[in-house]
């Protein structure tokens, strides 16, 4: 006697549709659970004034309710708008950083302009010959204004020291450059601060002329006045 044939399982079940799921046991359980929880929900009626007339703290949040913490206490709400303050703080911090950077750049630029430069500016035009007078103020060709001496930088210290040696030599030669003092003048030309270099160039050019033209004396006086104002080493 053969075993009875197994019952025909029939066609495979298609995927459950939404309607099947809606009517399934889980869906029914969910419906019942939601209804039971809803019946047990505590309805808390609050004074409507607190709803209709928001407090100043509510306005601070840009009319957007805060994210409510689980305690449900209004005093413990963390305003959702607090996160929006971060961009403001970040922008303020960035502004401060930019300002500090600009100040630092300005300081660096000032230092560079007072340091020895590699390129010498073009020499100033030779002044027209004329009577030589001792100027009481800074000459027009000089970049150093008359008045109190400015604090010396490193380049000016070097120039002042070199000029002191030149002055000592000029004192012995009657304000005339000989080959020795000409070398000193070449050294000063290389080491002179940018403000002094045009005058040194002019003086060097005029000192090489034999006999020295009248403009030589004027150029020498101009440098002496400059050095007097700068480092107190003029004569």
């Amino acid at each position: 006697m053969s075993d009875p044939e197994p019952p025909n399982p029939g066609p495979p079940n298609p995927d459950p549709t939404d309607d099947d799921l809606d009517g399934g046991a889980v869906a029914l359980a969910v419906r019942a659970t939601l209804a039971a929880v809803a019946e047990r929900t505590t309805i808390a009626e609050r004074p409507l004034r607190s709803v209709a007339q928001p407090t100043a703290a509510d306005h601070d949040h840009d009319d957007e309710p805060g994210i409510v913490l689980a305690t449900g206490d209004e005093d413990e709400r963390r305003p959702a708008a607090s996160g929006r303050r971060w961009p403001l703080l970040a922008a303020a911090a960035a502004l401060v950083v930019v300002l500090v950077g600009l100040v630092a750049l300005a300081n660096d630029h000032r230092t560079v302009t007072t340091a020895p430069a590699g390129e010498a500016p073009p020499p100033s035009a030779e002044p027209a010959p004329g009577p030589i007078t001792e100027p009481t103020t800074a000459p027009p060709g000089s970049t150093v204004p008359a008045g109190t001496a400015r604090p010396s930088t490193g380049a000016w210290d070097t120039a002042c020291a070199m000029w002191a040696g030149i002055e000592a030599h000029l004192a012995t030669t009657g304000d005339r450059f000989d080959p020795g003092s000409g070398e000193d003048l070449l050294g000063l030309q290389a080491a002179a601060p940018p403000e002094l270099r045009p005058d040194v160039d002019q003086l060097l050019r005029l000192a090489m002329v034999e006999p020295p033209p009248p403009a030589y004396e004027e150029s020498l006086v101009r440098i002496r006045v400059t050095m007097l104002h700068r480092c107190g080493t003029g004569t």
Binding site: P16, D18, L21, D22, G24, V26, A27, A29, V30, R31, A32, T33, L34, A35, A36, V37, A38, E39, R40, T41, T42, I43, A44, E45, R46, P47, L48, R49, S50, V51, A52, Q53, P54, D58, D63, E64, P65, G66, I67, V68, L69, A70, T71, G72, E74, R77
Partner: protein, 184 residues
């Protein structure tokens, strides 16, 4: 929205006498009426979505606060209020998800709220619903509690109808697996 009416009718009877706060309210009568009609239904809806009765109370009152300034510009305040409640509840769920991931101290504080006193089987379903994602939970509540059509759920959730079907389908599968795993 017949479901909302059903919700309103199913709410427990509340005191008919206005509270002291209501007596002194400056808001117009429309807001007072809306508050009395919708407070219970909206609190239940928020409770089912967020899973917290206390949070639901805050969410609903925040929703009334948002609505109060625009009431005269809205044709269907009840529907608008429901949108606000759903969105606020979803926002809270998303915030809660972040807290759960990063801040265990806050999560421990939340445990203070008591669970609703449900029959054992329903309590298991309610607990199992915690594993649903925010979107799945919202879709399930809107579909099975408010009995909204899929199209209306999709409009409320701002997503295609196919997505709603998928969310509900997947949520029921997850719940079935959770309940099966819990059985002894």
């Amino acid at each position: 929205m017949g479901d909302a009416e059903a919700l309103t009718s199913s709410q427990p009877a509340r005191s008919a006498a206005p509270t002291a706060g209501l007596a002194s309210v400056r808001a117009d009568g429309a807001l007072v009426r809306l508050y009395e009609e919708q407070l219970a239904a909206m609190t239940r809806l928020a409770h089912l979505i967020t899973g917290s009765n206390l949070v639901a109370q805050d969410v609903v009152h925040d929703a009334f606060l948002k609505l109060s300034g625009r009431l005269d510009q809205i044709d269907t305040p009840a529907a608008y209020l429901r949108v606000i409640v759903v969105n606020e509840s979803r926002s809270w769920l998303r915030h809660r998800a972040v807290v759960d991931r990063h801040d265990r101290s806050l999560r421990a504080a939340d445990a203070v709220e008591p669970e609703p006193d449900l029959p054992v089987e329903l309590g298991r379903v309610w607990t199992a619903m915690r594993v649903l994602s925010e979107r799945q939970r919202v879709a399930v509540v809107l579909r099975f509690w408010l009995d909204l059509p899929v199209a209306e759920v999709a409009e409320l959730m701002d997503c295609p109808t196919g997505t709603v079907k998928s969310l509900v389908h997947r949520a029921l599968q997850i719940l079935e697996e959770e309940l099966r795993d819990e059985r002894p």
